[in-house]
Symmetry: C2
Subunit: 226 residues, 2 copies
DNA sequence: CCAAAAGTGTTCAAAGTACACCCATGA
DNA sequence: TCATGGGTGTACTTTGAACACTTTTGG
């Protein structure tokens, strides 16, 4: 073995869609370094813990998100020398996609939702978290194309319009409601009808669906040029 | 900071195409643990080194691959408790795609090429390297679809047939030579003609191309059902 | 009745598939 | 000249894009 050891942390890019826009869960740091700065939620990996377990634990602690209905995957690792002034710290970024749930107790260390769109002009995040956030958003955008993960942003029962809202928020571009409807309802195993409908503010009531067993999208959902 | 520290390594999934089949570079371990087992090349990250720098260094040491003409990217991190009997070791898997170069000096620690196809029935790799290899191969297969990375498996000057051989080897499926030709030559920036031709064993001489500046493939190369 | 959202049908263009066919070389 | 692989042309099919149109609600 060698003497050059690292502390290992997990950081979370927790994304949701609320009010038609993509939001990320941020906490405010209370201790140095970067005290007072916004940051991605995260923490150190415990002695006998695997990476995904650590990320799951942090997700539950920070956002109150229990197990079902969310998606969590590893993103990438970041270990540039000097990224943490305390010493050599490697962090494994993770990406979580969750429905727009109310956050738990708004204590001083609680997280809150921030629109992703205006991040460029907002207060920079601690460490290299801006980079991790950018990678997470990019990954989410790409995965909507060829997976059914968009449904992870929605509650267990959802309408086609809600799902379309997710795509439009994440991609920042309007989609044709007619073609979108046909696409998702004709993709086998994406949405399964419940038989019930729900009345929105105005207009014809929409069918309620549950998420189907499909995870991949063949053919993919397209977002035009990019 | 915390007391639970990790050793951090990089491991390399170095892939090439030779004799029409996908091959991976493996070394044989000489020291415990897993002495005598085949393993992915890799090593510990040095005190002031970033992850990609460590992977680049290991790639140069193990395969003699100098800088240009290869592709190297981070794959994922693996840190399951107990994956290394010596203690807590996190490894960051990397994926390298290289042309079929002759390997350097075949010393006792030198690497050698092994066909990926028969790995399931072959001697298992050390640690969790079978899993890392599987992830690397899967990533390579996926990336050929929507990037121009297949050219990374070829020498700087290449023919359309060579490039097609890469796709067929990685995907394990024949492609129509006529449609493939049209697809790659009509994708802007994928291949740029040199004007020269090369005479193969038999048949009409093929045009020589160089890699173009394009990195993405719109629309993607399709591999049918999967 | 009217506005608005859900959902269907139809037309057109772009891209993949299949394959007939010609070209240029070595044996 | 023939076999072989390189390269082009073309018909057919599938899929996405655009949009007219019908359905069903609330005001």
């Amino acid at each position: 073995m060698r003497g050059n050891l690292f502390a290992v942390a997990v950081d979370l890019v927790v994304l949701t869609v609320r009010s038609g826009a993509l939001h990320v869960l941020l906490v405010r740091r209370t201790a140095p370094p970067f005290a007072g700065s916004p940051a991605l939620p995260g923490g150190f990996v415990r002695p006998h813990e695997d990476l995904l377990d650590a990320a799951t634990r942090e997700l539950a602690e920070e956002s109150g998100v229990p197990v079902p209905g969310h998606h969590l995957e590893q993103l990438a690792s970041y270990a540039a020398p000097g990224r943490d002034p305390r010493g050599r710290v490697l962090t494994v970024g993770h990406l979580a996609l969750v429905p727009d749930l109310p956050l738990p107790a708004a204590g001083p260390e609680a997280g809150s939702w921030h629109a992703v769109a205006g991040r460029a002009t907002a207060e920079p995040l601690a460490f290299d978290h801006d980079r991790i956030l950018a990678d997470g958003v990019e990954r989410a955008r790409a995965k909507l194309e060829y997976t059914t993960l968009a449904a992870s942003f929605c509650p267990p029962e959802l309408t086609v319009a809600q799902l379309r809202g997710v795509y439009e928020a994440v991609w920042g571009r309007p989609l044709d409601p007619r073609n979108f409807q046909r696409k998702v309802t004709s993709t086998d195993g994406f949405l399964v009808p419940t038989g019930r409908t729900v009345s929105g503010a105005r207009g014809r009531p929409a069918q309620l669906f549950r998420r189907g067993p499909a995870t991949a999208l063949h053919p993919p959902m397209l977002r035009g040029e990019s």
